[in-house]
């Protein structure tokens, strides 16, 4: 009998697992994909939002709370996080006139300052001369969402949480004091169930008779290989072209590449991550206007699918000891640590006894690109594989690739967690061959996506 079963190992599921791993509990996580964070999490923009409107909504509150927790989470778990700041720019006389009012209004909730045209051009030399002024929110930041999720997974795992990958939950039956989860990898009994199934949270909720509809909303991005083209998260005022999205921005990745997006396109299919020509042109037109030129070197187009359940997050307990954490669209990544705390409080309120463990393990991650020459030297002494670079663009060693590949024979997991092969295709064959030799199996992200036949 488990104390808590979590359905879904995206960023929310993994952060809840991480938080619960600090207590004396038996916790298990089910994930239908090959690894954690490969669905909605991988497809998101990697932005730690400064705020989410409306401020009084649940997602608005959890966004501010999660944002404030992010430095500590990043230190505790070991993922990279940079507070690069959000810059909202005014490009016409009306939005320019509104700046003092907007500043006053925003400053009730979040740190903000007004910036002049000259200041903006100093911060962002590539921005159009048409800029008239703007607002700067220093708390906005960026992460690698898959890395963030992976570090939470590792923390949870090393502190005793069990994970079942490639393990879809087929049905859930209610017992008087527990639930039976029927999965493709067997039956499990648990006192509490947390539904973090993302796009499929509606299917899981229906298993216990709760009616929930998740609508898929696709968001496409363009990734440029030019680092330093822009240095902040940039969006133009006014902010609300659509009630359901912030409308994207000229973003940057954790390693400084320009990312433009996301848009919002209604799709029929929850798996539809196809990027269409008109979307690319739309993004280029929308954000191209904000700059003097386009960034150089398109390296990728990608889309993620948001799980939308109305306008807000749905975090509730429709039946005793079953908690929905559904409709976690933007700013879910930012809110994840705050959602995890909230869910733990809900569990405690429902009678789950929380006894903090005496000893909590902090997993260590080695990324040679962040180390000094002396430290690399010491490391190579212990394990020569750290001296064998596979990806030159992002300086990733054979040892780092094998560490992830041992958990997941997924090329996407290795690529997104280590960043090997993210900038060009030069090392892809080496990674695939290395993984094939090590695991005798290599897929892109799930069964049916084998890379080697």
């Amino acid at each position: 009998m488990y104390d808590v079963a979590i359905v879904g190992a995206g960023v929310t599921g993994c952060f809840i697992a991480k938080e619960l791993s600090k207590y004396d509990l038996r916790v298990i996580v089910f994930e239908k994909k090959m690894a954690m964070g490969l669905d909605q999490t991988k497809g998101c923009s990697g932005i730690i939002h400064a705020f989410q409107l409306p401020f009084r909504s649940l997602k608005g509150k959890l966004c501010l709370e999660g944002n404030a927790m992010m430095d500590e989470e990043s230190r505790e778990l070991g993922f990279a996080f940079k507070r690069v700041g959000l810059l909202l720019i005014a490009t016409n006389p009306i939005t320019k006139l509104a700046l003092p009012f907007l500043k006053w209004w925003f400053s009730k909730y979040v740190a903000v300052k007004e910036v002049t045209k000259e200041e903006i051009l100093r911060m962002e030399p590539n921005i159009t001369e048409k800029v008239r002024g703007g607002l700067f929110f220093p708390s906005g930041g960026v992460v690698n969402p898959v890395e963030m999720t992976y570090t939470a997974y590792r923390f949870a795992k090393e502190n005793g949480v069990e994970f079942r990958f490639n393990c879809k939950v087929k049905d859930i039956k209610r017992r008087p004091n527990s639930f039976i989860l029927k999965t493709v990898c067997g039956e499990y009994e648990s006192k509490y169930v947390i539904n973090c199934a993302g796009l499929y949270a509606d299917e899981i909720a229906r298993m216990i008779g709760y009616d929930l509809t998740i609508t898929p909303g696709k968001g496409s991005h363009i990734v440029f290989n030019e680092r330093g083209f822009s240095n902040h998260i940039i969006a133009a005022l006014p902010l609300k072209p659509d009630r359901r999205t912030k409308g994207g921005g000229a973003l940057i990745s954790i390693d400084g590449k320009a990312i433009w997006g996301p848009n919002l396109v209604d799709v029929e299919n929850k798996e539809d991550t196809s990027v269409k020509r008109e979307e690319i042109e739309g993004l280029k037109e929308k954000f191209g206007k904000l700059f003097k030129r386009l960034p150089k070197d398109v390296i990728a187009y990608y889309a993620g699918v948001r799980s939308i359940a109305g306008r807000d997050f749905v975090i509730n307990q429709p039946v005793r000891n079953f908690i929905n954490v559904a409709g976690i669209q933007s700013p879910g990544l930012t809110a994840a640590p705050a959602i995890a705390k909230r869910v733990v409080r809900m569990l405690a309120a429902s009678g789950l006894e929380l006894r903090r463990k005496e000893k909590i393990v902090k997993p260590k991650f080695t990324r040679i690109r962040e180390l000094s020459e002396e430290d690399i030297e010491k490391l190579v002494d212990q394990n020569p594989d750290y001296g064998k670079i596979v990806c030159l663009c992002n300086l990733v060693s054979r040892a780092e690739i094998l560490e992830v590949a041992r958990d997941f024979p997924s090329f996407d997991a290795v690529k997104h967690i280590t960043r090997a092969g993210m900038d060009c295709n030069k090392c892809h064959a080496d990674i695939i061959v290395l993984m094939q030799r090590e695991r005798n199996k290599v897929v892109k992200d799930s069964a049916g996506s084998e890379l080697i036949w």
């Binding site: 398109v298 390296i299 990728a300 187009y301 190579v380 001296g387 030159l392 996506s449």
Partner: protein, 240 residues
């Protein structure tokens, strides 16, 4: 810190060739490669069609591999030269650094490969490297590429290895169809059924760490045509 006249980064055709001449002329020269001596030619020589077409270069590289000592390690800085290898970091002071790091294929996105990012989409380079390691990447391959001798070579190579192969030009958008892996591709209104898509639209210089030095060989010519690489190397060496 060891002082040398030349550090050559990359032990492919250009690197080995330069090292040979420099050593003959009495310059103290060191050659580094992050993978193994022989470079791309060495890898592709395992493919029969490739090896018969480029026999001359393959033989030359094989000979050079015997004569030229190559240290396996990744040069992470060029001034001074710092090499990360399985035996730790090594430092060298070089009078000159030659960048013989070669080229890499243009990314699929840049060639307008759109649609879902599923398994089975490869650059020509990745596909050739995989099949030269005896890895099977599918059964029915569509090669969407600009006209180039390497594309004909790849076509016959795939065919010889038992793949069904189709060719298409690169025109407009390449839309990938498929759920988990490539099931088909649409190019210019025409639909192809395949389980692997290989794209080629040219190459870029490969020097991601932006090392400083004199570029020689395929980092300049950016091709699969080794006669062009040979010409560039000859040109460079004639000026030494």
């Amino acid at each position: 810190m060891v002082a040398v006249d030349y550090v050559v980064i990359g032990a492919g055709y250009a690197g080995l060739k330069c090292a040979e001449i420099l050593m003959d002329k009495g310059f103290k020269t060191m050659v580094f490669d992050m993978r193994e001596s022989g470079g791309e030619i060495g890898v592709f020589s395992k493919l029969s069609d490739f090896s018969s077409k480029y026999e001359k270069y393959i033989e030359e590289v094989e000979e050079l591999k015997k004569d030229i000592p190559v240290d396996i390690g990744t040069v992470i800085k060029s001034k001074p030269v710092i090499v990360n290898s399985g035996n730790g970091l090594k430092r060298f002071e070089a009078k000159k650094v030659l960048l013989c790091t070669g080229a890499t294929d243009v990314a699929p996105a840049k060639l307008n490969v759109l649609g879902k990012r599923v398994a089975g989409i490869y650059t020509l380079e990745t596909a050739l490297r995989l099949i030269s390691e005896n890895s099977k990447i599918g059964s029915k391959v569509l090669i969407a590429a600009k006209e180039d001798r390497i594309v004909e070579l790849a076509e016959s190579q795939f065919y010889r290895l038992g793949y069904e192969v189709e060719l298409s030009e690169l025109r407009g958008d390449i839309s990938v169809i498929g759920k988990e892996r490539v099931e088909g591709v649409e190019i210019g209104g025409e639909t192809y059924t395949c389980d692997a898509l290989v794209v080629y639209g040219g190459r870029n210089p490969f020097n991601p760490l932006k090392l400083r030095g004199t570029p020689v060989g395929n980092i300049v010519t950016c091709t699969y045509d080794y006669s062009k690489v040979e010409e560039n190397v000859k040109n460079f060496l004639s000026k030494i």
